[in-house]
Amino acid sequence: MAIAEETPKITYKVPKKRHPVLQFAITQPLGAAGLVFIIALFIAGIFAEYVAPYDPLELDYGAMLAPPSWDHLMGTDAFGRDVFSRIIYGARTALAVGFLSSALGSGIGAVIGVVSAYFGGRIDMAIQRFMDILLSFPIIVLALAVVAVLGKWPIGGLDINLIIAIAIPMIPKVSRVVRSAALAIREMPYVDAARAAGYGHTRIIFRHIAPNVVAPFLIMFTAFIAQAILLEASLSFLGLGVTEPTAAWGLMLSGTSQEFYQQAPWMIIFPGLAISLAVFAFNLFGDSLRDWLDPKIKI
């Protein structure tokens, strides 16, 4: 009699069906923190006119190399320009270049990867050899060469050729990862079925194979935004990327900063911090996205 009363009440933990964004935030707190920072950066970049206290191009010879103060939160550079405002506007440059070049590079890379896997044989062989050639250039060397060849092509304050130069070194890497994912998909019965149904190559590639390699594509896309921001900063630092007077983080570390940073370290500390934090946030988010979507993928 007593036994029945003492039977502990068993509670089952029923997994609640949560919104995917919320679920991501709970299982990947670091990635979510990265995402929050990225969103904040986006807001700062888009609404730079309202966030930045000064005009990033405004020269103020009365306040050259001024240390951080309430007037100038992060000090001023050798021309008296407000470092904080230039960093906010620099976010716009970095995100625009990062997003566009990563979209371009991973987009083209993904198409090449899927096409290469789908057709196989000689076409695959030829494409992969060409990718090998591109891969044997160090990234920055390839980007430098492309920048030098293409020159400048500014549209709306953005140098399209710089975006192309940053995108090209990504193509072979993305195409390899996507190709290996697509190779497995190609063997699926539904691809055979689609072929038997008489669909053309284009339809099979874009409707049947491409949707199944979205996970590796998205992971590569976010990872390469970080790399693109870093590469843009390096190229601008070398004087071959974004050029003065546009506000860009890499550019803020070069030129007069090289002469004066030992007297005015704030000129380089904050822009470098901005690059590092942005890349860090994208890396954190990208890593978590990988763990969440497909932990087997190695980049």
């Binding site: 050899r129 044997s136 160090p138 492309v146």
Partner: protein, 317 residues
């Protein structure tokens, strides 16, 4: 194995040829050749005749396929030509700078390995504890911090604490080893940190994977000390992918030095590359790209061979 080695060696030829064609064509597509750059840069009025003469002297008036043929013919007999800018043999210009870049690259590799292997292993052994998290954040930060910025911070720190400024001239290691090392350790550290980040993450994930293996359980079950399980059974097997990553990144280090050399005022391959690209010095750029690409492909190949040598289970066909 021998067949595999020969196959790989043969495959290098078309890849390098592809690199050669690509860099050759890219350079010719560049607006403005070296002759224009040199004469028109001063703003002086130069007659078309002089320009044509100068082009003829440099062999730029020949058809493009013939220029390519001359260049390839030279490479086959080991002659890379002379720099179009300075007129000195390309090989002389490169070799002294290569020595410097190569030394920094090796030092960076050693530093990176010394940081990465212990940290990665620790992170794996203490998975999901605060030790692991700190190491992971350290590694992700290494991927995020631009090496040229880290270099500047290092210089700032050295200036602040030791009143040290990077010297303007380079001392080779055989002249004064101490001076040389104290000069190059900082750029090596700036580059090596990023490098170690990649290797730390790789070490962590492979050690974690290996620790799941049956033979680790067996070793533990038969009462082997945990220290020996880690050092003898786990580490040895986990090192393979780590060796690969370190090897592959080594080739890219030369490229990564491009920006760091600028910061530390080192006259190495990277700085030379930036200079020659902006001057449109065709012969130099071509030689540098070929050098780096060959280096990359050869290191890649050696890593694969080393892989087979370290792991008897791997058999290439």
């Amino acid at each position: 194995m021998l067949r595999y080695t020969i196959n790989r060696l043969l495959l290098m030829v078309p890849t390098l040829l592809g690199v050669a064609v690509l860099v050759f064509v890219l350079l010719r597509l560049m607006p403005g050749d070296i002759v224009e750059m040199r004469y028109l840069m001063d703003g002086g009025q130069v007659s078309a005749e002089v320009l044509a003469q100068e082009r003829a002297r440099l062999g730029l008036d020949k058809p493009i396929w013939q220029q390519f043929g001359d260049w390839m013919g030279g490479i086959v007999v080991g002659d890379f030509g002379t720099s179009m800018w300075t007129g000195r043999p390309v090989w002389d210009e490169i070799s002294s700078r290569f020595q410097l870049s190569f030394q920094v690259a090796i030092m960076a590799t050693i530093l990176a390995t010394l940081i990465a292997v212990p940290l990665g292993t620790l992170a794996a052994l203490f998975k999901d504890t605060w030790i692991d998290r700190i190491i992971q954040v350290f590694a992700i930060a290494g991927l995020a911090i631009p090496s040229f910025w880290l270099g500047m911070l290092l210089i700032l720190g050295l200036l602040l604490f030791f009143n040290w400024i990077p010297p303007l001239t380079f001392t080779p290691i055989y002249v004064d080893p101490w001076h040389n090392l104290s000069q190059l350790i900082w750029p090596a550290l700036a580059v090596g940190y990023r490098y170690s980040a990649v290797a730390t993450r790789m070490t962590r994930s492979t050690v974690l994977e290996v620790l799941q293996e049956d033979y680790i359980r067996t070793a533990r079950a038969k009462g082997v000390f945990e220290r020996l399980v880690v050092s003898r059974h786990a580490m040895r097997n986990a090192m393979l992918p780590v060796v690969t990553v370190i090897g592959l990144e080594f080739a890219f280090l030369i490229g990564g030095l491009v920006v760091t050399e600028q910061v530390f005022n080192l006259n190495g391959i990277g700085k030379l590359f930036v200079e020659t690209v902006t001057r449109a010095d065709y012969t130099m750029v071509q030689a540098l790209v070929m050098l780096v690409a060959t280096f990359f492909i050869v290191v890649n190949f050696l890593v694969d061979l080393l892989y087979a040598a370290l792991d008897p289970r791997i058999r290439y066909r």
